[in-house]
Symmetry: none
Subunit: 166 residues, 2 copies
DNA sequence: CCCCCTATCTATAACAA
DNA sequence: TTTGTTATAGATAGGGG
């Protein structure tokens, strides 16, 4: 597509590589945009440049398409199945579906947060319980030392003499 | 690029649309592949067909690139969303806004679920710790009883004096 | 990094299978 | 849904600002 045909292999010259990247990335995004319009398709592209900078294209947005993709059962990705796609592409323009999903998700989120909050609370309770228990255990342990010492004293009474009683 | 020039607007004929999608998707992925090789760039593409079926291209893989992208601070990402469409621009804003909210919520949900999972795990760990501690405490406690009893025994036989039993 | 130019190479529209 | 053919529209390599 240019003055000369090029081999599809890594471009060595850094400057040329950068120029090539810039031009081809633009072209790629343009093609993606055309595809999304011509076919009413959802498209998401993420590219990291040789300099490791991210560029993205998305219709309707990278996030939406990525989410949808992530939710897809991996085993079905290359095959035909539309069982649980949550946004029928025909619904673009109909925001009721989106709003419904939004409110459902928000409810779910609240539940999760509540759940997490309760778990956290229980964790803290249990932790203090744990501390208390450890404290008690230490007291008991100390008490044992005292008792054993008393025992010794009791066995070796006033006359600190011979009492090798076992 | 064909026998005739075409307008970039939704293809009406379903059959033509399907053919166009198939060919252009192939072309898009080919371009993406060339880009990734020529520039040693990481590329990920996800496309949903008019029939809502997912297709993807990734170098080294969709997941790797997506993961990297998601971890990037959003403010620094150069984004290029769709430029033109046949949807009234009023709606595009709203749709995008809704879609963005949706995806953000979903991401948040995933985080919450992960968090809850970890909390639960820690709760269980702590619980077993707790049980162990209580067990120890009981052992100590029993040991005290024994010691005290021994103390009594030690005191009473030798000198029948003080027997403040009980 | 951007834009311009243009000779050349590539993708693809329409049609057919 | 995909493949092949062919005429043509579109993308781009190389070079210059």
């Amino acid at each position: 597509m240019g003055r000369r045909k090029i081999e599809i292999t890594e471009v060595k010259d850094p400057n040329t590589k950068q120029v090539t990247f810039s031009k081809r990335r633009t072209g790629l995004f343009k093609k993606a945009n055309e595809l999304s319009i011509l076919c009413k398709a959802e498209v998401a592209i993420v590219v990291f440049s040789p300099g490791n900078k991210p560029y993205s294209f998305g219709h309707p947005s990278v996030d939406v398409v990525a989410e949808k993709f992530l939710q897809y059962p991996k085993s079905n990705v290359a095959k035909s199945n539309d069982v649980q796609g949550n946004i029928p592409s025909d619904d673009i323009g109909n925001m009721d579906s989106l709003n419904l999903q939004l409110s459902q998700l928000q409810a779910q989120l609240r539940e999760e947060q509540k759940k997490a909050g309760e778990l956290d609370k229980r964790l803290k309770q249990q932790h203090s319980q744990n501390l208390e228990c450890q404290h008690n255990a230490k007291d008991y342990f100390d008490a044992i030392q005292v008792s054993e010492y008393m025992l010794l004293l009791a066995k070796e009474p006033v006359v600190g003499k011979i009492t090798k009683k076992r």
